[in-house]
């Protein structure tokens, strides 16, 4: 199976656009609705790029995420791409992704993006059910979303991903299955299906703490998870990571895969994370702090850490068990001088017998039910 390993370990570049037209009720990511700060932010972003001009080689992927990147105009995107190309080098066929919100862009704008070199679009669909969209505080309806997906196809995008969400109060499994069927009928190349998780400081998190609604219990979460996998794999998608499905192995998110196998990445913009060798750092969490640091002439880094071998090892385990490909035993042994098959022989045997993992082509791979308990698997 060829999924994550695209034969290169070239770094990925992430740019965080910390703006939204409105804040969704479940979202705890860094974003603001003060769109008048966009120009300030972009000039700060370009300054930040310059800090890293020489420290990273060629980037293989560029991912513009948020927030809501589609609040930017085509002019803004052009500035960003120009600046990236001026400051860094990209490989010959980079994967360039932009996250967009339904209704934000018409077909002409999408075409313009495509012409600029953006070759992957990720649409924040979340649901096709209007009641659920309202509960989540989304600004679009299901039918608008379908139009946007179609527009993206018409604009020439051959790699369209959509994000969906399950485990939402008021959503039972049949309703979720309906959403999945509608998604499948749009024939996207990629789907990300996330279980709703709520931070306490979000509006929905507060409502949950007040006891206004319950999130599904663990048994129901499992049902959602397994139904998602069954339905999408039935429709021909590969369940290649806990939350991610691709039409085939070539259509996996090259950028996100770097996060899962410790490939270096550079994150720019507020709250963005970066990894280079054993060092990981992340930027200031708010736009104001980010801008202040840049204006003061320094890198807007909040914290950095140097990962110990033990920390890297734990990450390699939990990230590996989140992917269908699993953990490459030989590489793991080389990196951590740990022969899992030998050191954890008893546990692995039990896990195999219980149908959580299998050993295949030199990999330790989670099964579908293994993916559902990837956290526990990593603590073996």
């Amino acid at each position: 199976m060829k999924t994550l390993d695209h034969g290169n370990n070239l770094p990925g570049l992430y740019i965080h656009i910390p703006f939204c037209r409105s804040k969704c009720s479940y979202c705890s990511f860094c974003s603001t609705t003060s769109l008048e700060l966009i120009d300030d932010f972009l000039s700060a972003l370009f300054t930040e790029m310059n800090f890293y001009e020489s420290s990273f080689g060629r980037f293989d992927t560029l991912y513009i995420g948020g927030g809501t990147p589609s609040v930017l105009s085509i002019k803004h995107f052009r500035q960003i791409l120009t600046h990236v190309q001026k400051t860094f080098r990209l490989t010959e066929k980079p994967e360039i992704t932009v996250e967009i919100n339904p209704v934000d862009m018409n077909v002409n704008e999408l075409k313009a993006l495509r012409h600029m070199g953006v070759n992957r679009i990720s649409i924040g669909v979340q649901s096709f059910n209007d009641d659920i969209l309202a509960f989540l505080g989304r600004r679009h309806t299901g039918s608008q979303t379908r139009r946007t997906i179609a527009d993206a196809g018409r604009a020439g995008f051959e790699n369209i991903g959509i994000d969906l969400m399950y485990g939402i109060p008021g959503q039972d499994i049949p309703l979720w299955a309906e959403t999945l069927e509608k998604a499948i009928s749009c024939e996207p190349e990629h789907l990300s299906c996330y279980q709703l998780t709520l931070e306490d400081d979000t509006p929905l998190g507060k409502r949950r703490r007040m006891g206004e609604f319950l999130l599904p219990d663990e048994d129901r979460q499992y049902d959602f998870f397994m139904r998602t996998s069954t339905i999408l794999e039935g429709a021909g998608y590969v369940h290649y990571e806990v939350s991610n499905f691709a039409r085939n192995g070539n259509l996996v998110s090259r950028h996100n895969s770097k996060y899962w196998n410790h490939t270096p990445y550079l994150g720019l913009g507020p709250a963005a994370h970066s990894l280079a060798e054993k060092r990981r750092w992340w930027n200031r969490g708010s736009l104001a702090e980010y801008l202040a640091d840049i204006h003061a002439g320094k890198a807007p880094v909040a914290t950095s850490e140097t990962l110990s071998r033990e920390e890297l090892r734990l990450e390699a385990l939990f990230l590996g068990f989140r992917t269908k490909e699993g953990i490459h035993l030989k590489n793991f042994n080389t990196r951590f001088e740990c022969d899992l098959l030998e050191e954890k022989a008893g546990t692995i045997k039990t896990l195999q017998n219980s149908g959580f993992i299998r050993i295949e082509d030199g990999y330790l791979r989670p099964t579908s039910s293994g993916l559902a308990v990837a956290d526990s698997l990593s603590l073996i």
Partner: protein, 598 residues
């Protein structure tokens, strides 16, 4: 000697013993406001929290009475719990009189009676004192009636006070002088002193608390403990004020301390008689008993790395608690630990809490057991207090278990439910007395093992807190015992094994399984919890597996946060005991002991 009065305060728990003691200390001017801390006599945190005295204390109160003469009133405080009744009896043996304190709202309770009987056995002058008369719920007339009818004392002899408000204190002090006889004894006779307590001082070794009946003792004397037949040279004697006050000698009638280079409290026995080595008294003072632990349990460190710390802490702990005994023990499931003996469940609680609180240890306790007696087919008799030493069942010809006499006092409306509880606990030969209008005393003989397991909690619950309980050991009786093992995924957890009555095995097995089910977190596999006798499974529950735990997405490369969560989980897992592939938290071991009503 005419100016000395030796007395104790006896009462049911929470009837205000310590508060009254504080008030007497305060009003005789021993402590001023600055040094006064509420309830000086109860010095340990645990004692203060639970409102009970565990160790005895003593203090000499200087008092100028209305007759114009100066007296020394020696207050000997007593432990306030049934587990420590022998210590109470030795303290009382050191007195000539007692204040029998009764809560004006609660009236006479089981320990009021038990303490009264102890005082009567020692022929003490008894002054009934009705406390908490300031409470809105106080019913003084009813208590006076109880003093007459339930205690059989002259109701005209009672005093009234509110120790909390300082009401009636002067009258109590006068009554102590007037009514409690002064000590009698012969200062010229050979020394005879009763040890009623011993405490450890890190600088001086054991400080022996004693009452001198005859003769006198001074530093330099060679003294002999008559039971141990050991001889020590006296370094210092003195009285108890707020701290120790050195004196030249202790004479007949005195209460005081002796320091004689005794290394640990285990080297002296409470109730033993001290005499002079070269001029011994004829025979020891009466009433000595060697107290033996009746409840046994093993203690293990949660992390086997802490074994040495546990060993050191136990050693330190026993310096000051001679009734606690321990020896090395080991468990297949829990590793190296110690088998310990306690005077009762409360004593066990106290030891556990102090080890955790004062010594910062995390420990696991095995299921407590009493000491059973087995007669084997070859005629030998063996005593077993540790389920891991249970004899091969094919060799057992007969078995016996210790019985207690349980005395309970309660409003009669609870009689039905208490009798039901006692029968469930294999209670026998009940005797019922109506001690007053609407009040009953009920006595049962029942196996000690039954009160180790959720008896107190359920008794309190069925009597809605109005019942009181006291017990004493009576004898060993024939029983039909079995060894109940608990298996987790087929592996025996030896620390959870229990010796049980065969008729109760199934119920006990099920309860243990259910408790474990509540405490052991779901894991990736189904966990079978079974109770077994020999090879036969008699109880079973299952903890279903969790099926999903992966939620937080690793968005935008924020992997650190997720890793930290997992690191925390991994740490938590390390604090659990692994039995095979199942992680069992400390709380699960404790839960097996707890009652359903918690």
């Amino acid at each position: 000697m005419e100016n000395i009065r030796n007395f104790s305060i006896i009462a049911h728990i929470d009837h205000g013993k310590s508060t009254l003691a504080d008030r007497l200390i305060q009003s005789t001017g021993v402590s001023d406001a600055r040094t006064f801390k509420d309830q000086i006599l109860d010095t340990m945190d645990i004692e203060r929290e639970r409102g009970i005295t565990i160790k005895s204390q003593a203090i000499a109160l200087p008092y100028e009475a209305s007759d114009g003469r100066a007296y020394t009133l020696n207050l000997i405080d007593t432990p306030g719990h049934v587990d420590f009744s022998y210590e109470v009896s030795r303290s009382l043996a050191s007195c000539e009189g007692v204040l029998l304190l009764i809560d004006a709202a609660q009236g006479v309770q089981a320990q009021t009676l038990a303490n009264l009987y102890l005082a009567m056995e020692n022929n003490l002058e008894i002054i009934p004192v009705i406390n908490k008369i300031d409470l809105p719920a106080a019913d003084v007339d009813r208590v006076i009636e109880q003093i007459d009818q339930e205690l059989g004392l002259d109701p005209d002899t009672h005093l009234k006070c509110s120790a909390k408000e300082g009401i009636g204190i002067e009258e109590i002090l006068e009554a102590i002088v007037d009514r409690i006889p002064h000590p009698k004894g012969d200062p010229q006779a050979p020394l005879a002193a009763l040890i009623f307590d011993a405490q450890y001082d890190p600088f001086r070794g054991t400080v022996i608390h004693c009452r001198v009946f005859d003769g006198n003792v001074k530093s330099g004397d060679m003294i002999r403990f008559m039971f141990h037949n050991t001889v020590y040279r006296v370094e210092e004697v003195g009285h108890f004020l707020l701290s120790r006050a050195k004196r030249d000698r202790l004479s007949a009638g005195d209460v005081g301390y002796i320091i004689a280079g005794v290394k640990t409290v285990a080297d002296v026995r409470i109730g033993d008689t001290i005499t002079l080595n070269d001029r011994p008294c004829e025979k020891p003072l009466p009433g000595f008993r060697e107290i033996k632990p009746v409840v046994f349990a093993s203690i293990y460190p949660i992390s086997s790395d802490d074994y040495e710390d546990l060993a050191v802490s136990l050693e330190k702990y026993t310096l000051n608690d001679a009734s606690f005994i321990y020896q090395k023990d080991s468990s297949v499931a829990l590793g190296q630990g110690f088998r310990c003996g306690f005077l009762g469940l409360l004593h066990l609680d106290v030891v556990q809490e102090r080890l955790e609180r004062e010594y910062g240890l995390s420990i696991i306790l095995s299921v407590p057991s009493v000491r059973y007696r087995f007669t084997l087919r070859d005629g030998t008799v063996t005593e077993v207090d540790n389920p891991s030493l249970y004899p091969d069942p094919t060799t057992i010809a007969g078995s016996e278990e210790p019985y207690i006499r349980a005395t309970m006092m309660l409003p009669d409306r609870y009689l039905g439910s208490v009798m039901k509880l006692c029968m469930e606990k294999r209670g026998l030969n009940s005797r019922l007395n109506y001690t007053g209008p609407g009040r009953a005393e009920i006595i049962y003989e029942m196996p000690l093992a039954e009160i180790l397991y959720d008896f107190y909690d359920r008794f309190k619950s069925v009597t809605q807190g109005y019942g009181s309980f006291d017990y004493d050991l009576i004898d060993y009786r024939e029983s039909n015992l079995a060894l109940l093992d608990i298996l987790v995924n087929g592996e025996k957890v030896d620390a959870l094994s229990q010796i049980v009555h065969r008729d109760r095995a199934r119920t006990r097995g099920l309860q243990s399984c259910e408790r474990l089910k509540e405490e052991i977190p779901k894991q990736m596999f189904r966990i079978a919890i079974q109770g077994a006798i020999g090879g036969e499974i008699i109880a079973r529950t299952t903890i279903s597996a969790f099926r999903k735990d992966v939620t937080a997405k690793c968005y935008g490369g924020d992997i650190t946060r997720k890793r930290k969560l997992l690191e925390k989980q991994r740490k938590g897992k390390k604090r659990m005991k692994m039995i095979g592939s199942v992680a069992i938290p400390q709380s699960a071991f404790l839960a097996v002991l707890k009652s359903d009503t918690d």
